[in-house]
Amino acid sequence: MTWDVCLQRVLRHGGTRFDLNVRFASDVSRLVLYGPSGAGKTQTLKMIAGIARPDGGCVAVAGRTLFDSACGLDLSPQQRRLAYVFQDYALFPHLSVRQNIGFGRRRGWLNPAPQVDDAAVDRWIAAFHLESVAWHYPHQLSGGQRQRTALARALVNDPTALLLDEPFAALDKALRHRLRDELKDLQAQLRLPMLLITHDDEDVHVLADQVVQLHAGRVVEAPSLQEAHA
């Protein structure tokens, strides 16, 4: 199984209580988690990545078990080796594009130097056509450049899978079309399992091999690709 996820968590915000109980398994390489805002999509993705803590359940990605409350296994996000693209990209504002992309290549206490000489960083900058803005800071970038930088930063460490949280929500419509196709090509090139969450039908149509639909913290149906396109 490429994706085998079963997660429970009770979230409390003030007086309200939200029960998240998500279970899905799939063997496709492009899986889309689809649902309205507040359905628990982002929470689910964060628990898969290990940056939010579930109450119980299990997570296995690409044949590797990352979390299993039954046997007390809980890999840290650092050990999970999953690329994560945040909804607003979460680029480090104090670092240039180059330093952002090279961030995960250095494990020590210091950030990569602005002049860092790293073939892997150069390769990703070229792959995403970021040469002209390599020295710029995130606030100087356009939405599309931000997204590409976030993707490059996540991919530079040879992750085992790619997780994307509404990657096109912050972009205008024309750009969204283009970047969707780019992402599709990229995924095909890298053959990297990809889990994308969205509330946009278009994302589902273009990018999904299979859809898992989430509503109020539960999987309501898991239609096949044909049904999703129907």
Partner: protein, 224 residues
């Protein structure tokens, strides 16, 4: 006038040490208070902020009770380490540190709390361990706020009077800082000395404020 320069050097030494110690303790405790959730957190925050509102003489009294030669801690320090804090410049450092600590602590806590936790999460998914995240993401992003607190703390330490007088006394050349020297000069009717000391103090304070103004917006412009 010779004495004025000695007082100036001593004041800068005391304020420098107090600020350096506050840098470490204020950042560490500010970070812990920004992140940790535990019962009594608000109470602890109030206690740590208390030196900002309490009269310095009251603080000085507390310090005497705590580290004075007859206190358990004070006598232990003298017996085992040979360290005497009362009526020494080190005592003046502790007085200045306690009085100005809330300025660094508050600034650091506020700076840490404004950082988007997603940035730290992003660093985690990139395989960076927690200590490195603090030095590579958290601290650089909070640095401007902390620096502002440090400058205020330095300025506050320069002008410290009440607690310093209580703990360190007013020994010329050893514990007599600028602000205490001014008081002594006026009491003794030495107007020339007082004028000179006041002028020196004023110039330093203006210089600190100017450098603070130059340092902070400059960094804003560099970052955008």
């Amino acid at each position: 006038m010779e004495g004025a320069w000695v007082a100036l050097a001593l004041t800068l030494k005391v304020a420098g040490w107090a600020t350096a110690l506050n840098l470490v303790s204020g950042v560490a405790i500010g970070f812990a208070m920004a992140r940790a959730r535990f019962p009594g957190r608000d109470m602890l925050d109030a206690l740590l902020t208390l030196p900002m509102v309490m009269p310095p003489t009251v603080l000085g009294y507390y310090l005497l009770v705590l580290i004075g030669s007859h206190s358990p801690l004070g006598s232990w320090l003298i017996e085992h380490l040979g360290i005497r804090l009362v009526f020494t410049w080190q005592g003046a450092v502790i007085a200045a540190m306690v009085v100005s600590f809330p300025l660094v602590f508050k600034a650091a806590r506020a700076a840490f709390e404004t950082i988007d936790p997603q940035l730290e999460d992003a660093a985690r998914t990139l395989g960076i361990h927690e200590v490195a995240i603090f030095f590579r993401v958290t601290l650089p992003l909070a640095w401007r706020g902390i620096l502002a607190g440090l400058l205020l703390s330095f300025a506050r330490s320069l002008g410290e009077f009440g607690a310093t007088l209580m703990v360190a006394g007013s020994i010329p050349g050893r514990t007599q800082t600028l602000s205490i020297a001014v008081y002594e000069a006026v009491q003794a009717g030495q107007d020339d000395t007082a004028n000179f000391l006041v002028a020196v103090t004023s110039i330093i304070c203006v210089a600190v404020l100017l450098s603070a103004g130059r340092l902070l917006p400059g960094r804003v412009a560099a970052r955008g």
